[in-house]
């Protein structure tokens, strides 16, 4: 078990290094190939040569890509200094970079944005897991009935709706027309009701999409499981239906759901870009958009890394949990 965890952690680190290197390459190699200057791009359109040169030195854009990569990675552990144009900016460890647009440590920006995304995703996850799995199980058990049909058509409609459209519709109806909820995010530390009210619409909107996906997946898995021999055996030996379904069937049904849940949770915590943009929430997803629209390389690099880290760590956790839920799984 321990050896397995260590090996997986090693793979996680390698994967994150690859993601970082690829992201860095985009901003370094593509402008180079197409003949534009990355430094000039980051400074903006009406920049004078001196400030372009200063940013080139500070960001080390003149260095070979592997050197830049090394600076970024070592900065996370020991901090780094940005020197150029006559001044030096120190970024203390853990340094995920320094944003020259906002003149802030990227770590600070990430720390500010993280609670927003986390509140939104956790709240939605609780909702969608409850709604989606319940709907899927009921649908599978009542297969072919009106309940099943209605649930599955609703679920199909749910997965066919772009989330930013659902978000705007929800805001139009519940905020503009009915005035039931507030507009903006309030940290939970300031006011619980404000926090709850501000996040209610994002929760419901995000949960609707994911509940629809989970209902479809749960129903399909449950139907497959119910056709297995061991379910027949369990029934044949006279177990009450509640035990057959609740214990035997649910356990196998939940295994694939858990995998997907872990991955979705990881990906969303890493940045629910669309939902955050539609609801103007300033979480990690909002930060990502800000980074890209302002061509803030250090910010983009950091957010990409965090997002990827959330996905791979979630995957690892799911794989470990597997061994707990499903005794057939042996980690090797």
């Amino acid at each position: 078990m321990l050896a397995y965890i260590i090996r997986r952690l090693f793979a996680v680190v390698v994967m994150l290094l690859v993601v970082t290197l690829v992201t860095l390459s985009i901003f370094f190699l593509i402008p180079k190939m197409t003949g534009s200057d990355p430094a000039a791009m980051f400074v903006g359109k009406q920049a004078d040569p001196a400030s372009i040169e200063a940013i080139r030195q500070k960001l080390g854009l003149g260095d070979p890509i592997l050197v830049q990569f090394w600076h970024f990675v070592s900065g996370i552990f020991v901090g780094r200094d940005y020197t150029g144009g006559g001044d030096t900016i120190h970024c203390a460890a853990p340094c995920f970079g320094y944003s020259f647009r906002t003149e802030q440590d990227v770590s600070t920006m990430l720390a500010d944005a993280f609670p927003v995304t986390l509140s939104m995703v956790i709240g939605a996850a609780v909702l969608w897991l409850l709604m989606g799995v319940t709907t899927g199980v009921v649908s599978a058990l009542k297969r072919g009935t009106v309940i099943d049909r209605v649930a599955m058509i609703t679920a199909l409609a749910g997965v066919s709706l772009p989330i930013f459209f659902t978000a705007m519709l929800a805001m139009l109806v519940f905020r503009t027309q009915l005035g039931w909820v507030d507009a903006s995010y309030v940290p939970i530390t300031e006011s619980f009701t404000g926090w709850f009210g501000g996040l209610l619409l994002p929760w419901v909107t995000l949960a609707f999409l994911y509940a629809a996906m989970y209902a479809r997946l749960t129903r399909a898995t449950m139907l497959e499981v119910l056709g297995e021999d061991y379910i027949r055996t369990a029934r044949a030996k006279g177990l009450p239906e509640s035990v057959v379904l609740g214990k035997h069937a649910m356990r196998s049904t939940m295994t694939p759901i858990l995998t997907i849940f872990g991955m979705d949770l990881g990906a969303l915590i890493g940045g629910a870009i669309l939902t955050e943009t539609a609801f103007s929430l300033h979480g990690l997803g909002g930060l990502a958009i800000k980074g890209v629209s302002e061509r803030d390389l250090p910010l983009i690099l950091a957010v990409t890394l965090i997002t990827a880290a959330c996905v791979v760590i979630a995957n690892l956790v799911v794989d470990l949990l597997y061994a707990v839920i499903d005794p057939r799984v042996r980690l090797a």
Partner: protein
Amino acid sequence: MTAPLHETSAGEATATVDGAPDAPGTPDKSGSGGKAIEGRSPWKIAWTRLKRDKLALAGAFVVIFLILVAIFAPVIVGLLGHPPDEFHEDQIDPLFGTPIGSWGGINGDFLLGVEPVNGRDVFSRIVYGARISLLVAFLAAVFAVFLGTILGIIAGYFGGWIDAALSRVMDVMLAFPQLLFTIALVSVLPNELLGLDGSGVRIAALVLVIGFFGWPYVGRIVRGQTLSLRNREYVEAAQSLGAGRFYILRRELLPNLIAPITVYATLMIPTNILTEAALSFLGAGVKPPTASWGQMLSTAITTYESDPLFMVIPGLAIFITVLAFNLFGDGVRDALDPKGSR
């Protein structure tokens, strides 16, 4: 899943079991009445089933309709609309920037109303938007399926270090934040590249990026299928007859992979449409003035409280298109599923 396939007759169900992909052309004695025994390929069986699935057929009709709309966009707009880039400031309230007419300015002249601020014809922009949406989604799906099939089959068939390497690559790609990566990539693309203009560069970039992030999903499925197929008796038989590896890949394995690949490709198109819309919504889609649905929604984000219809119409366009493809795709999946119980 929503397909009414459990209503199929008993004869149909038996034929289904016999018609599993690795037993092609099994004769079906039950359904043909007094006629001579007739072989039915799995594809014929699937087609028979698909024809009975009303929801899937409805989806298929909408899909065909949308494809025709996209192809004949200039004709349709010529007949029923105004040029998509033409400004109609006379339709706009100069004070608020919203359409003068009620319901987003819908009238006999502007079938779906006008855009806020500059008064462009929403109908024309929706019709032209269908082109971008479908073009990008189709091409990206083709690209993803092509790459995914080749690499998946190679990984599954050759195994060993090739499989290990390809599987690693797929893992990394699945962990990659696709939306973020794409908008970052698009932001550094130049306006002109290899003789393509701005919109051309963006369309090519969208197709390549969406397709490139799509292939690992296909690759994983194809790899898994190949792994389970490569030790089947008929592959062994081909090997013992002296068939080469390439021959086995092409003639023995690939035909049996077509069903899952078809299902995945059909279900990939709606996902791609949503991704394209999302990217356009985030400003990484085709460049204005070229119309796209996602971009219309992102314009609407500032005006939807005063002019809701300009937000609702492109949203519905995306929804209907994706729903139609999903209904059709689910139908294809159920029809090609050898178990055929759902």
